[in-house]
Symmetry: C2
Amino acid sequence: MEQKSIPDIVVGRLPIYLRALQRMAEDNQRLTSSQELSERLGISAAQIRKDLSQFGEFGKQGTGYNIEFLVDQLRQILKVNRVWDIAVIGAGDIGSAVARYQGFSNRGFRVTMIFDIDPGKIGTHVGPFVVQDYATMSGAISEASIRVAMVAVPAMSAQRVAEDLVKAGIKAILNYAPININVPEGIYVQHTDPVTHLQRMTYYLE
Amino acid sequence: MEQKSIPDIVVGRLPIYLRALQRMAEDNQRLTSSQELSERLGISAAQIRKDLSQFGEFGKQGTGYNIEFLVDQLRQILKVNRVWDIAVIGAGDIGSAVARYQGFSNRGFRVTMIFDIDPGKIGTHVGPFVVQDYATMSGAISEASIRVAMVAVPAMSAQRVAEDLVKAGIKAILNYAPININVPEGIYVQHTDPVTHLQRMTYYLE
């Protein structure tokens, strides 16, 4: 199933398809179609068929897609047919909320540790976790071979934290700090910031 | 400054440029260049010049961009040269964290109310807000002429909440629930889900 040169924008739609398909599976639905997915997701049926066809032949003309099979395939393609442990950096409001987030289960991820630099937070509980000292982060991440981190620290600290994470072996960073962070080639970053999302919509408002 | 037919993907990059430029302005920087923005953002300088040129002539060959002027222009274009009030729906971990989020100020938004359906949460405090009864939401939003909402409710409730919000006059919804929601034409939705971000990165990992 290894493929080269799939555009990242196509890769970015696969998790959206997977999420919708997993929800259908939870509702005990067995079959779907590009038309039904299109109505749920607001993406054209032609685009959905084209995206999926880049990875193989998943549907049959006239009968549509077998949901369980397509879920399995997408989980393999996205490498979430396993569970990735996550380290959360920053035990403020956002870091604590994502550490306690219930939505990771059955989707390929679980938080296993959370760190902060604030002596007032170290040792306190966040959900089932004890906040660990940032000074011990690199060792703990290396030892546990963690590859995925979520960064929820102030903007001014985010770049330094990212550099420490990369040195510790992290390959994928979801950054909640409202600043762009730069990482070496072969390391992946996604940024999430409510304000950039909101501004993208206010552009269209009167 | 009204423009037609700017691709949404270009619109989506403007908040990223604005965020970087505002940060430079906070550091008392006066001028920048597409090259410097490119290095900060990992977007090519040619792309940045092309994106900005769709909205006007902002830079001079050889002297670059005046940061204060470009910030003003981008704030106008994105309609954040004003402050949009936000209603937050859902006072769980995520809703509470975004309601308390300090990163809205000076970026065009402020949270002004938060609602929940849980009698155990109604009347409690989230930061400076008292959680209001979901039953009173439509009236409160209409009366205050609020146009922007953030939805942080369980997936199974998100579509119904979105429909209630649209009826109350909301035009832009940032959805934290891990499910796609459908809205009528002329209403805007952005989805944010840590798992879809993470899966987009694990695709590339070994």
